[in-house]
Structure formats: C-alpha cells, structure tokens
Symmetry: C2
Subunit: 344 residues, 2 copies
DNA sequence: TTGTACGCGTTATCAT
DNA sequence: ATGATAACGCGTACAA
C-alpha cells in the first residue's frame, strides 16, 4: 500500500515544472512542445500517475458528477432508468452518485444536502413531491436540476423529461372503451404530481370522446410509496358494480397491483381487462402477457442526461425546458372485448 | 447563484477562528466551550454553511464513499443488490458511486481507474472475471475490495460474500431427482468463476447421491453476458433425448432463459419442470409461479457493506474473509413428478 | 480552550 | 513554450 504519485513527482521525474505536466493533461489549457509532451506522457505512464479528482474539484469548484435521486432501485422502472443513465453518463465521462428516497421526503432532503456537499454539477431526480423550497435552494446554488417522469407543479424553472402522459392515458383508455368497456378502473399517481393529474386527464378525455360518463369511484390516485396499488385493486374489485377493465397508470405501483391481481385469482382478461404503464420485461412472461404503455426509458435517460450536461456546460438557454417523448401502446392478450354476460 | 460560504466566513461571522468551527464540526478532534459551540452552530445554520467534501477529502486523503461495480442495473438481481447497498450505505453516512460493466472487462477496467481517481475507500463488485492484475493493483493502492455473488479464483486475498452455492445447487437438483427426473438441464455461469463451478459441483453431488450418471450435454456453462441463457434453452430442448427438468443457475441469464421458454410455448411443468436462481418478484406472477432458489439479497448487501466499511476503519483482521449465506429453496408449481409418458 | 500556519494536489495567472 | 506561485476549503499539529 504505497502512496500514489502526485503531479509533482511526475514533474521532477521528468525534469520539468508542474505546469507543463498539467498542460499535458489538459491540452486546451495551454501549449507544450511535442517532444516534451511525449516524454512527460511516458513518465506518467511509467509512474502510473493518476490525477486526484478531489484536488481538481477543489481547484475548479465543481465535479463532472451528477446525482441521481430515485425512489428505489428495486422497482424495475427506476432500475432501468438508472441503468441507462449510468451507461449514458459514462460515455460522457461523468460519474453518477445514486441515492434513493424510498419516496420519503425526509430522505430526499438528506440526499440533496449530501449531493450539495459533493458539489455535483447536476441532479436528475424523480421527486417525491415535497421539499419544494429545498429544490429551489439547490438551483439557486448553481446545481442544475432535471426532473424525470414526474415533476412538482409548484416548482417552476426546472427542466422536465417525461412521456406524453395525457396522450398515453387517453390512448389506453380509448382502447378499452373501444372494446366496449364502460367501467374502467384507473390507478394513478397522486394528483399532487403532474404525472398523476395528466394521466387522469387523458382518461377523462377518452371518456368524453366516447360520451361516457365517469364514476369517480373508479379513479384511485394512490401514493407512489407503499402498497397503495394492491389495496386499490382490492377495493376496486369489491365494488358493488365492479369495473371490467383496469389501467394501472402509477409506475411505482404496477408490481403491487399485478401481484394482488394474481393473488386474488382474477382471470385476465375474462374477469378483467388490464393495461399497465411499464416497460418491464416480465410483463411478457405473465399469463397472459400484459398490454402495456411502453415507456421509452432510454429516451428518458438520454434526454435528461443531455439536459443536465448541457446546462453544466452552459450551452443551453436559461429558460426551462420540457421534453415529452412518445410512449407506445402495446396491445397484448390481457384485454378482451366486453361480453354481454356481466361479471356474475 | 451566489457562492457558498466557507468555513472562514463562518469563523469571522461568529468572531472565532476557523479551528473552532472545525472542531465544532468534528467534535472528536478537540474540545470547544459549550457556549461558543452553540453560537457557532447558530451561525452555521444561519449562513447555511456546509463543508465541501472535496476539501475534506483532499485534506484527509480519502472519502467515505464506496464504489459499486455491477454488470447492469437492468437485471433485477443486481438492481436489488444495488438498492440494498445504497440503502444500507446511507445509514452509515457513506455515498455510493455506481458503475456498470455490462460484463465487459474493458469497461470494468475503466471503472476501476475512475474509482481510483476518486480515492474511494472501498469497492463492492461482481467481477467480470478478467482484470486480475488490475484488481490486485487496486488493493495494493489501499482500496478495500469486496466481491459479491462471484469471485475470481486466481485472486487470493479478496473478501467474498456469496450464497452457499454448492449446497443451493445440490438442493435444487436433489429436489428434481426426487421427483423422478433423470435428465436435468443445468444452465450455469462460466466455469472460470467460482460461482459457476460451485453450482455445477452441487449438481453433480446430488446426482451421485442418487446414483444417477450425468450426460455432459445437459450442462451448459454460459457467459453472464449476452443471450446465452436463451440459446442454451433452445439447444437443450432440441436435444434428441431432451431433458425433463431445467435448472437455471446463472443469475444473469434467468430473464433470457425464461423468456425463451415462454416464446417456445413450453408448458411448465407438463413439458418441463423448472427451477431458477433468483429472488425476482416476478417469478411469482408467471404462470405457473416458478420454483426458485431465493437469494437473500439484503444479507449479501449487509455483509458486503459491513466488510468494506470494517476494512476502511481498519477494524478487521488482515486475513481475507469469506461469508457464505444460506439460500432457501422455494418450491412452487413449476415442478412436477416425472410421468411415465415420455415427452411426446 | 483558542488561534496560526501549513499541507493536501491541482488548476490558473502571471511573468519570463 | 515554460516555470513560479497563488488560490481552492478544510484538517491539524503546534504555539499561545
């Protein structure tokens, strides 16, 4: 466990000054004689010298690092998002510090403080919905913030990358209505989030188009956290006039919802037609395969990273951007036309 | 975007010296008058002061940060592992920098360099199997390395946390043999890894116990990377004398294997009894639910983190440790007794 | 108990 | 084209 060489070691070993070595490492910062350049490079290689990022950070004031703040990595949606972001970030030479909130505002606040201490250049997050002032402060301190998938309505001036929520929900709902279903359950995210509201809006729009009125009981806005999805499923199916279709539009609750469906022995699509918002690989191996709104996760990743990096390099106009990517509806066999024989 | 206050700002605002402020922040480093302490704390709060971690790191030489190097986060196993590690790390006040290798040695080497530059105190990894000398160098430079799930045989002196691989495979195989199956396909990891070898060993042990000979064709050691699992499934099932049971013991290949099974329309367990090594939530919603070897992922996380942190604090003996945790076999309905009627 | 001064490794600003 | 030197913000002997 010998200690690593510093730039000074390299300099003296090469018989030059530290400035030269520094310029060899950061070519854009100044010229250096080609001959010397190669020889310094040789010494660097030989000594196995590597610049310490902490020193650089202290000197330049920031880090080519982005913080990623998601609910939890156990959820395939966030896991895949994280995967793509980490992957994409690497190709840009930036590291990713991952923090999870478990949808707990308290933990989220904590994470933000930590990221601030590390002077990350930017943060990509799926916000819990709270900590409005904290996010604002983060921005005012020069940290570039980009929200993915959801955003906080109260918070203006923050970039957002999401799918076309209204349209996706409209599409899914429209499909079910076209199959003849008139009572369609909707499990959405909290109305306090843009995502939750937009998807409900799409659901309503489709109903209007088909001139079908909505039973408010069928709309369940459940929190991202906890087992709200499963509970909503149970409660929807115990309704006197139970729905014949179900749309799970809360990404964080897809797992718990489907699991409950299976536990209850609900026959799909005979008892219930189902569509979920998820790009999970496993939706294809359930029986029957589930119809889904396929979230273009890598698009979300690419755009959000592009936004943070763009802002870090100051190559973007001041005005906050909103990027909406299309999400495809993928019909599979979990939806069937409504038969005249009512469920029981 | 005003610039953040430094420790000096706090000191002058509080009318004390920087060292007092420093001691207030790091109590164990020295005493400070209670009265002054509170007032300094007040000023800190008021100014919103937060120490810059880069400066501290430069000063003390290391960081309370661990690197996590896994194949990819799109695989539920790694995702959950990452989730638990990030979670556990937070409670110890350490951050996690996540890097993915996609099972590519080149990318892995890259990651290690980067982590070295950041002077992380430790690294938790599921190694690709290559980069032997690089891992060794990392250690010699004082970075504490802990492998999880797999290890590299050539590399001594590395801590390892894994499940009881031999026993798990033995258990699963034994179960199938007890059901009367005599031709059981095994999809394992590469024999160049400890995991791959151990699981094959367990498979063999069970056969010996039942005095059943093994057809070498039934054992497929496929790489972690790529779609080897799916291909192995296809090839196993197209054998003249095809197996009636299948054990997928390569965690990274469970997804592709099961997907292929579904694509091929294989009836489980009528055509094939199946057991997979995975703790994936989705194994319960497939039809039928899959029998699994349940990997105690959070145990893996807890132990590996405990090991790195323990080493970072020098609170552990020099000698490398190997922690093996038990994995339960969870029988579900994907396995059935072998009927006398052969497949077709 | 408190304050001073230096070191950590790198980049940036100057002269040369 | 090159070299000396001052930041950068914090920890910490050491002196008071």
């Amino acid at each position: 466990m010998k200690k690593a060489p510093t730039i000074r070691d390299v300099a003296s070993a090469a018989g030059v000054s530290v400035s030269v070595v520094s310029r060899v490492l950061n070519p854009e910062s100044g010229p250096v004689a080609p001959a010397k350049r190669d020889m310094v490079l040789g010494v660097i290689e030989e000594l196995g010298y590597r610049p310490r990022s902490a020193a650089r950070e202290l000197s330049v004031g920031h880090t080519p690092t982005v913080g990623l703040v998601v609910a939890d990595l156990a959820n395939p949606f966030f896991a895949q998002l994280a995967d793509r972001i980490v992957w994409e970030a690497r190709s840009h030479g930036v590291q990713v510090v991952v923090m999870t909130t478990q949808e707990d505002p308290h933990l989220e606040a904590d994470s933000l403080d930590t990221l601030l201490d590390r002077s990350v250049g930017g943060v990509i997050a799926t916000p819990t919905g709270a900590n409005v002032e904290k996010w604002a402060r983060l921005q005012s301190l020069g940290v570039n913030v980009v929200f993915v998938d959801r955003t906080i309505p109260d918070l203006a001036n923050v970039d957002l990358v999401s799918i076309e929520n209204v349209d996706s929900a409209r599409q899914a709902t429209d499909y079910m209505l076209s199959l003849g279903h008139t009572r369609i359950g909707l499990i959405s995210g909290p109305v306090s989030t843009s995502t939750g509201r937009a998807r409900i809006q799409g659901y309503q729009a489709a109903h209007e188009k088909h001139s079908i009125s909505i039973d408010p009981q069928l709309i369940r806005d459940v929190p991202f956290r906890g087992d709200g999805g499963g509970d909503a499923v149970g409660s929807l199916l115990s309704l006197a006039n139970r729905p014949t279709g179900l749309i799970v539009a809360n990404t964080a609750q897809v797992q718990s919802s489907v699991r409950r469906l299976v536990q209850m022995g609900v026959r799909i699509p005979e008892d219930l037609s189902v569509i979920v918002f998820d790009d999970n690989p496993w939706t294809e191996v359930t029986s029957p395969p589930l119809s889904v709104i396929r979230q273009p996760i890598s698009m979300l990743a690419v755009h959000s990273l592009e936004l943070v990096l763009g802002r870090m390099n100051g190559k973007l106009p001041e005005t906050p951007r909103t990027v909406e990517v299309k999400a495809d509806f993928v019909p599979r066999s979990s939806c069937a036309p409504l038969l005249l024989t009512p469920t029981r």
